[in-house]
């Protein structure tokens, strides 16, 4: 086999792929180009910025003026290391750069500086949502090309993107379905964004995938002829492009033809792949060591420094939330994959008030803090995702949750105080003190209220004993309401059940 050791079933919902899978194994490998979110370019000092006037972020090096030389941007190295560490890669002590030679107007030097024989990271892996593991062969540092803009009968070149740092993440051909390929890309994307390695804007081409696809007769150990579909820049398009390519290759093979080595493109509008370049037209890139750049030595100290500077990864976080915080799998998964809420949560549980539990904090976060967040976003006329900070700071929330923890107020009361805090901007302690908001836990006082509720709703009590058990929620609601929201809900529940028992016919 291809070294892929997972034994899980191959699952896909695409009919055409299912048909192909009856006769063939699908083998997919991805090469993902990820634009690095550094301020300047990888080999020169001009700005890495999107959307500026064409040809404004230039310098002698990135437009390949004669006599200019590249100098490696350390920030790019650190970001590549981040990605490597996040995907369990080995970090070789020495890596080096090569020139990849070809002519194209968007490539000003006539060669791209990249890594071939000694990439910065090797032999990593990533786990898909379905638990399958995909091996990563290498992560290599390289530079992006400029952009050709075609207008009417002539073409223009914009070199703003020329020399922007990229990492190319090359997987082993371990992927077996279009869905897995899309999931793999999503996972990589989430990691890159989470780690600050890339802005990950797909539409701006920060993240683009080349898909190598081939079919081989079921169980055969010999790989079939592959094709490479270049530059797909959306998760969905990637899945579609691979589906269409599997269908095409299946058809070719079934009709007795042979798949030919070629470079292909994918047209999302037509949902159709197309040939770009056959093997005969393939470039001979004439790789050789880049003489302008000495080898890159990465010391163990540097690796550790990068590791220490990395934010916790979603998977690690998820595990911690379940094992150390006792969150449910569902809550842990959701929270681990957020940014601001997770940071807020971590800040709160770091100083968790007595009597509070992480589970309660999540519930408060989901029902109340995020509601305030949504309202704030609405008021500012922006999407809630655009708010990078939590409106209710962890500090403010801790002030409030301290009252919940020591039993002064209930979570229900906390909701009202929170609203008040949000509208007035005052601290929780002031509001609690001013309103005399102190939770009533005294059983006699509670019992008085309960008795009044039961007396007023005697008909409902009859219904309750007739088997309508959910009336209990109604009684609790009425009691809380009559108690002005100050009654301790747990106590209310207990007293209510006791009083009802007394009236059982």
């Amino acid at each position: 086999m291809n070294g892929f050791t997972n034994s899980r079933a191959v699952e896909t919902t695409h009919a055409g792929v299912l048909k192909a899978l009856m006769f063939y194994d699908v083998v997919i490998g991805l090469e993902v180009h990820c634009q690095l979110a550094t301020r300047s370019k990888i080999f020169s000092a001009s700005a890495n910025s999107f959307g500026d006037e064409p040809n404004t972020n230039l310098d002698p090096t990135c437009v390949g003026l004669p006599g200019a030389l590249p100098v490696l941007n350390d920030a790019c190295v650190d970001l590549a290391l981040r990605m490597g560490l996040a995907t369990q890669c080995e970090i070789p002590h020495r890596s080096s750069f090569e020139r990849k030679n070809y002519f194209y107007p968007d490539l000003p030097k006539g060669y791209q500086i990249t890594q071939l024989h000694h990439p910065i990271c090797r032999n990593g892996s990533i786990t898909l949502s379905n638990g399958k593991s995909v091996r990563i062969d290498r992560i290599q540092l390289e530079e992006d090309a400029g952009k050709n803009v075609h207008t009417g009968n002539h073409s223009l070149c914009d070199y703003n993107r020329s020399g922007v740092g990229l990492i190319e993440i090359v997987s082993h051909p371990d992927l077996e379905t279009p869905e897995d390929a899309a999931d793999y890309l999503r996972k990589l994307h989430a990691l890159a964004v989470h780690l600050g390695v890339s802005e990950g804007d797909m539409e701006r081409g920060h993240f683009r995938a080349d898909a190598n696809v081939s079919l081989k007769p079921k169980g055969s150990s010999v790989l079939g002829q592959r094709t490479e579909t270049k530059n797909v820049n959306s998760f969905r398009f990637l899945e579609r492009a691979i589906v269409r390519e599997i269908e095409r290759q299946f058809q070719v093979l079934q009709s007795g033809g042979r798949v030919v080595m070629e470079t292909r493109g994918y047209d999302p509008e037509a949902d159709e792949g197309f040939s770009q370049r056959s093997k005969e037209e393939a470039h001979d890139y004439r790789y050789f060591p880049e003489p302008d750049l000495p080898p890159l030595f990465v010391t163990p100290e540097r690796v550790e420094r990068v590791r220490a500077s990395m934010p916790e990864l979603p998977d690690q976080r998820h595990k911690r939330y379940v094992s150390a915080c006792g969150l449910s799998e569902k809550d842990a998964h959701w929270l681990a994959h957020t940014r601001a809420p997770a940071a807020w949560f971590d800040a709160v549980i770091a100083r968790l008030p007595k009597g509070m539990e992480p589970r309660m904090v999540v519930s408060f976060l989901q029902s109340d803090v995020l509601r305030v967040q949504r309202e704030a976003a609405e008021r500012r006329g922006v999407a809630v995702e655009d708010l990078t900070e939590m409106v209710v700071s962890a500090e403010a929330a801790l002030g409030l949750l301290a009252f919940v923890g020591d039993g002064t107020i209930s979570l229900r009361m906390a909701k009202d105080v929170l609203d008040e805090m949000f509208t007035s901007g005052r601290a929780a302690a002031d509001i609690v003190r001013e309103k005399g908001l102190v939770q009533v836990s005294d059983e006699h006082t509670i019992a008085e209220v309960v008795l009044r509720v039961l007396d007023t709703h005697s008909k409902s009590v009859v219904e309750y004993f007739a088997g309508k058990e959910k009336m209990i929620a109604f009684f609790v609601g009425q009691t809380m309401k009559l108690g002005g929201g100050k009654l301790n809900p747990a106590k209310v529940n207990a007293v209510l059940l006791a009083e009802l028992e007394k009236r059982r016919p």
């Binding site: 004669p66 006599g67 590249p70 100098v71 002519f103 060669y111 003489p291 302008d292």
Partner: protein, 520 residues
């Protein structure tokens, strides 16, 4: 022009003291800055008169120069300006804003510098006045300076002979006194060989000693900006200014150039002669008698001065030539890809060419034959299926040679060889086999491959000889300052001879007699 008979051309101008050194000019102008302007005016007019005969310069930047000179004169010298007011000439493959950087190629017609090379920046910071650009072989490829869109450079000692190449223009300019210091670039001997042909010092620094930022690349792992000068002291000054780590060139050496001036004595210096290499050239008849004589004489004189002359063998040197041409051409094929007619330089005029044809036409029209030959050779050496057999083995040979040198330098301090097998040859010498021409570089190439420093010094000649002959001293990487000090020792013992070619620049005498050592 028709050349006068040799006897007339070689009138012994030795009596005529005609040149100022950089150090003497700097100290003179520092004390009387206002003499600069008239000096430069007459220098430039003298140069313009003399240049047509030799074709050494491709431009004299009169306006910019006078402007800078005026500015320098009015503000006077500043702390550390060791080259205050010193005229310097650039090979036209070194960038200075506004100066032509045509690399003697049709494809860079009209191209001017867009930024300053680090070496240029440092020279100007030291007060130097860069005032002209020098002719060269196209993209620094050649050993005769005949491959130039500007036409060949002629040897000042015999106008029917070549100047050597590729930095021929700079060598001739230095020999004729157009400037006390001129810059060339040395990839396989391109500064040392013309220095040998024109009778001046040509110093190739260790790889990484001088920043390559701003030098149009030929063979990036071999190239070094390299000075010509007529005194050892000038070499020392100019290297102190130019050398050193550069954040814009990742291949520069960390260790600074620290002058070793005056600390060395020939007595006890261990000089190695790679006897196998020299004997082979001698026995196969490729070593010119006057070169052989100069070498023998140097050997004897060094012994007499107390140096230990030892025969050494450098393992790996036999394959240096093919390894060099593979590596240099491979790198060149890539470095010259950017000259495609798209962004700068010359584009094919034909209309309606598709992209591939536009590239092909522009490059076919823009590059000369020697450049095309090397691009094709380099492209082949890197092509799929051949890269390992050619480029890969060449790299291995290079590393083997480097360790061969390392071993040799365990027993000797410096290596002595001829710089070139012959003195300057005749212009237009037809050579059907380019590999015969490449043999010219047999002594100079190893230093580039092994990243060593090396200098060509003009040997004292017999009275019957009129063409200069250079000898090469080569030291380990990083020992540049030591090697300059060795040249000072040679000067002290009169083991090299700086002559004055016929029709050299009669630069205006400076008003005040200069201190000792100021004049050559």
């Amino acid at each position: 022009m028709s050349s006068p008979p040799v006897s007339e051309r070689f009138a012994p101008h030795l009596a005529q003291i005609c040149f100022h050194s950089a150090s003497s000019l700097a100290s003179h102008f520092s004390s009387s800055p206002h003499s600069m302007l008239s000096y430069f005016e007459s220098l430039m007019s003298s140069v313009e008169q003399r240049n047509p005969a030799v074709n050494a310069l491709t431009s004299v930047q009169k306006e910019a120069t006078l402007e800078r000179v005026q500015r320098l004169a009015s503000r006077g010298p500043q702390e550390g300006e060791t080259l205050f007011g010193v005229p310097i000439i650039l090979k036209e493959n070194i960038q200075k804003v506004g100066f032509p950087v045509q690399c003697a190629s049709r494809i860079l017609e009209g191209y001017r510098g867009q930024f300053d090379a680090t070496a240029v920046e440092r020279l100007e910071r030291a007060g130097a006045v860069l005032y002209a650009t020098a002719n060269m072989d196209e993209f620094a490829m050649g050993s005769s300076n005949e491959n130039s869109v500007h036409g060949p450079v002629r040897n000042p000692y015999d106008l029917s002979r070549v100047s050597g190449g590729s930095s021929g223009g700079s060598a001739v300019a230095c020999a004729l006194g157009f400037a006390p210091v001129t810059l060339g670039s040395d990839t396989g001997g391109s500064v040392r060989q013309p220095a040998s042909y024109c009778g001046v010092y040509g110093f190739k620094p260790s790889y990484g000693r001088v920043s390559r930022y701003g030098l149009v690349a030929y063979g990036s792992s071999l190239d070094q900006i390299s000075p010509y000068a007529r005194t050892a002291a000038d070499l020392d000054i100019v290297l102190q200014v130019m050398a050193g780590e550069d954040p814009r060139d990742a291949t520069t050496l960390r260790e600074p150039y620290v002058s070793h001036w005056g600390r060395l004595r020939l007595d006890g210096v261990r000089v190695g002669i790679p006897r196998g290499l020299v004997s082979h050239a001698r026995e196969s008849g490729k070593l010119h008698p006057s070169v052989a004589r100069a070498l023998d004489k140097m050997e004897a004189e060094l012994r007499a001065a107390g140096a230990k002359v030892i025969d050494v063998e450098i393992s790996g040197i036999d394959v240096a030539l093919p390894a060099y041409y593979l590596i240099a051409c491979a790198e060149a094929s890539s470095n010259l890809s950017r000259f495609d007619g798209i962004r700068f330089g010359r584009r094919a005029h034909e209309k309606n060419l598709d992209l591939a044809a536009l590239y092909a036409r522009s490059r076919a029209e823009g590059f000369g034959d020697e450049v095309k030959r090397r691009i094709m050779l380099g492209t082949f050496a890197l092509s799929e299926g051949y890269a390992e057999a050619y480029y890969g083995r060449a790299q291995a040979a290079r590393e083997a040679l480097a360790s061969g040198f390392k071993e040799a330098f365990q027993t000797v301090d410096v290596l002595l060889t001829p710089t070139a097998p012959t003195p300057a040859f005749e212009l237009g010498r037809v050579e059907d086999d380019p590999t015969r021409v490449y043999f010219n570089d047999i002594f100079t190439i190893p230093a580039n491959l092994a990243r060593l420093c090396a200098v060509s010094v003009p040997a004292p000649l017999a009275l019957t000889e009129f063409l200069p002959v250079g000898l090469q001293f080569c030291a380990p990487q990083g020992k540049d300052a030591w090697l300059v000090d060795l040249v000072r020792c040679l000067e002290e013992h009169s083991l090299c001879e700086m002559r004055c070619p016929p029709d050299a620049c009669t630069v205006p005498a400076l008003p005040n007699p200069l201190s000792a050592g100021g004049l050559v």
